[in-house]
């Protein structure tokens, strides 16, 4: 079983990203769970969302303590909250930032595998708004292969085509692809 933790702020779409990941994995025949950590729900407050993906049925409902992968959607968390808390030694940390993996390692104290991508910049360039949550999934997929890019793209089309129209949906898919290609 793979466990993923996503750090974001209320309103940044960490929960949506966790859900998309679960839905994409389910479409590939996996067992999934995704859930946010429900605290006092306020826009802008730090929050976490989780995804579990497994080949076998997932029985546990215990909180995720030792994630395999951590995604940080908001760059201001680096050096301010312990985003690597409980992250497995062989785990992977992926951060939305213009900084380099070495700089992130220094600030977080996490010595394992770190990847960086400017998902905010990519999102603004592609869609005109700062919504790095879904592009971050492109980076996660590149680094971990946990689901296929096609499955996320298919899901985005299914969820957004009617609501956003073809142009905006394609822009979102482009942003995922760019984050996938540009993650370092």
């Amino acid at each position: 079983m793979i466990e993923i933790r996503i750090h974001g702020r209320g309103g940044q779409g960490a929960k949506t990203a966790a859900n998309f990941l679960a839905m994409a994995a389910l479409e590939q025949g996996k067992f999934v769970q995704s859930f946010p950590e429900y605290g006092p729900e306020r826009a802008g407050a730090p929050m976490k969302a989780y995804t579990r993906i497994s080949e076998e049925i997932i029985n546990t409902y215990a909180p995720v303590v030792n994630p395999d992968f951590v995604l940080v959607i908001d760059p201001t968390f680096i050096g301010t909250i312990d985003v690597a808390d409980g992250l497995k030694e062989k785990g992977i940390l992926i951060v939305n930032t213009k900084e380099t993996p070495d700089e992130v390692k220094k600030k977080t104290g996490f010595d394992g595998e770190v990847h960086c991508v400017d998902a905010s910049g990519i999102s603004i360039a592609a869609t005109g708004i700062n919504k790095p949550n879904v592009p971050m999934l492109g980076a996660l997929i590149k680094v971990t292969n946990i689901v296929s890019v096609e499955s996320i793209e298919h899901l985005i089309k299914k969820k957004f085509l009617e609501k956003l129209g073809e142009q905006k949906t394609q822009a979102t898919i482009d942003a995922i692809q760019r984050a996938h290609d540009e993650v370092k």
């Binding site: 679960a22 389910l26 999934v32 769970q33 995704s34 429900y38 029985n59 409902y61 215990a62």
Partner: protein, 388 residues
């Protein structure tokens, strides 16, 4: 034909309600309501069901509207949580005392005060003696199937009682999981139309509902309610067997997990039963003889079945997610009752956990099993994860 969806427990309940297509759903549309009714009202707006949706001004009114609809002969449903269930209290007894087969999804959440919106079982456990059948669900899949089963059980002529289908607040209600949804037509064929024995709208057979019964008849009515509750056990198994033909799953009063080999056992219900399964798997692989007994049907309570499965076990821990202040916790009390006449009584240990949404970790459950294994058992209530 079935399809697997990424659903929350709330989605699963509303999906079951869509397939059931009840005649009437009455609900209070804001907090403490759940996404169940939000999603279901979308089905109504989109014309996917032909339910009469009544948006009422309180849960007291929601249950009152369900009572009226059900008495008229309609298939009536609602959903609630926490304070909403508490506000329904008076009418819960009207529904069961009038023998109305209303089905309600309950998302288990704490009661005030202090104000808290998170998971525990204080709401439905507080209503355990109000003559509603109570079925508890480990996951979203069980929520879906139990809701369908509940309709058939409630409306059965031998039962004719309302049913609550319970799930854990947030953990189940807001968490996405795989849920297998069965064919609309098969479910609808299984349920059929409600055929009321007596209905207010049947002018050819006029009846009085909710009359005054003082010293003359009230007592008999209450005795009949208990007989109906006792009947519900047999009917639950029958209806479950029929539903099994569609889902392939089994519907016993309890689920025994690795119980045959177990010397020590944890008893609990709802989502924590899933976490216990995960711990059982881990401890089993290191040679520990541990098992789980998950209670599915809590009202009526399956005393004989529980006793039969637990006698001869060495020790049993009962994990309650609600208090009975100054008394034995709800599930623990029933277990003690069930085992009173057993030949070989296991030692019992009561634990309270998770009130107001306090997290329960796998390590907590492992340490409960280790208490049982090392015979660290005493007559006092214990608390998991509480600060002194």
């Amino acid at each position: 034909m079935s399809k697997t969806e990424a659903f929350t427990g709330a989605d699963a309940a509303s999906e079951a309600m869509r397939q059931i297509n009840p005649d009437v759903v009455a609900a209070y549309p804001i907090t403490p309501q759940t996404p169940i009714v939000m999603k279901f009202s979308q089905f109504v707006a989109d014309g996917e069901v032909d339910t009469e949706m009544i948006r009422v001004e309180s849960e007291h009114s929601a249950m009152s509207a369900c009572v009226g609809a059900s008495a008229a002969g309609a298939r009536a449903m609602t959903a609630t949580a926490s304070a909403g269930l508490a506000l329904m209290w008076e009418i819960l007894g009207v529904a069961s005392g009038s023998r109305l087969p209303i089905v309600m999804n309950v998302v288990n959440r704490a009661l005030s005060a202090p104000i808290n919106i998170h998971c525990d079982h204080s709401d439905s456990m507080g209503a355990r003696d109000i003559s509603w059948i109570q079925i508890y669900s480990e996951n979203a899949q069980e929520v879906y199937e139990n809701t369908i089963l509940a309709i058939k059980l409630a409306e059965h002529p031998d039962v004719h009682l309302p049913v609550m289908v319970c799930q854990d607040g947030f953990i189940t209600s807001h968490g996405i999981q795989n849920v297998k949804i069965f064919d609309d037509n098969k479910i609808r064929e299984f349920l059929g139309e409600r055929k009321p024995i007596k209905a207010l709208l049947n002018v050819k057979d006029p009846v009085t509902m909710g009359p005054l019964q003082l010293q003359d008849y009230y007592f008999e009515t209450k005795k009949q309610q208990d007989i109906a509750m006792q009947n519900a056990k047999k009917t639950y198994l029958e209806v479950g067997k029929a539903l099994s033909g569609i889902t392939g799953n089994t519907y016993d009063f309890v689920e025994a997990y690795n119980l045959d080999d177990a010397e020590v056992v944890v008893v609990t219900l709802n989502s924590t039963a899933g976490t216990v399964k995960s711990v059982v798997d881990k401890m089993k692989s290191t040679g520990k003889k541990v098992g789980l007994l998950k209670i599915k049907l809590f009202r009526p309570f399956p005393y004989e079945k529980v006793a039969q499965l637990l006698e001869n076990k060495r020790a049993v821990a009962i994990l309650d997610r609600s208090e009975s202040f100054g008394a034995d916790a709800p599930i623990y009390g029933e277990l003690k009752n069930a085992l009173y006449n057993a030949n070989n009584k296991p030692k019992l240990q009561s634990y309270i956990f998770g009130l107001g949404g306090r997290d329960i970790y796998e390590e907590d459950i492992e340490s409960v099993f280790n208490d049982l294994i090392s015979n660290n058992i005493d007559p006092n209530k214990r608390y998991i994860g509480v600060r002194e």
